[in-house]
Symmetry: C2
Subunit: 78 residues, 2 copies
Amino acid sequence: MKIAVKVLPREEVLDSQGRAVEKTLEHNNMAVDHCRIGKYIVLDFSEDDVTKAKEKATEIANSLLHNPLIEQFELEVL
Amino acid sequence: MKIAVKVLPREEVLDSQGRAVEKTLEHNNMAVDHCRIGKYIVLDFSEDDVTKAKEKATEIANSLLHNPLIEQFELEVL
């Protein structure tokens, strides 16, 4: 089964990529109120049990995929 | 309203970041079958109409957020 890990910069952290995209959108008449940019990681497990797969995904996200000082993550079962 | 753009490398394109994470996970006894790494972009619109906001998000994703040669994207209404 597939589980996606959505990693985003924390609200209190300056998201320079997001700011850059906001400015470019403004200059191209496609302005948005706010933009945040993070990572989207799809993990494919042989595991079929949702709970176990989510546990594994959380372990992987905590140990390798996100930096808790500046990022937060959410899981999405696909 | 918020709309997320999930950008992933196309299946036929070599995803070097994904391969690197797969190998690291294997070395740390957390192997997964497959891993793909892309971008996760949250756009915040003043627009309240879902259809219009999705149209704008599609336009933005097509013109600025993804490279159709090597990437594909999906929208997610948050």
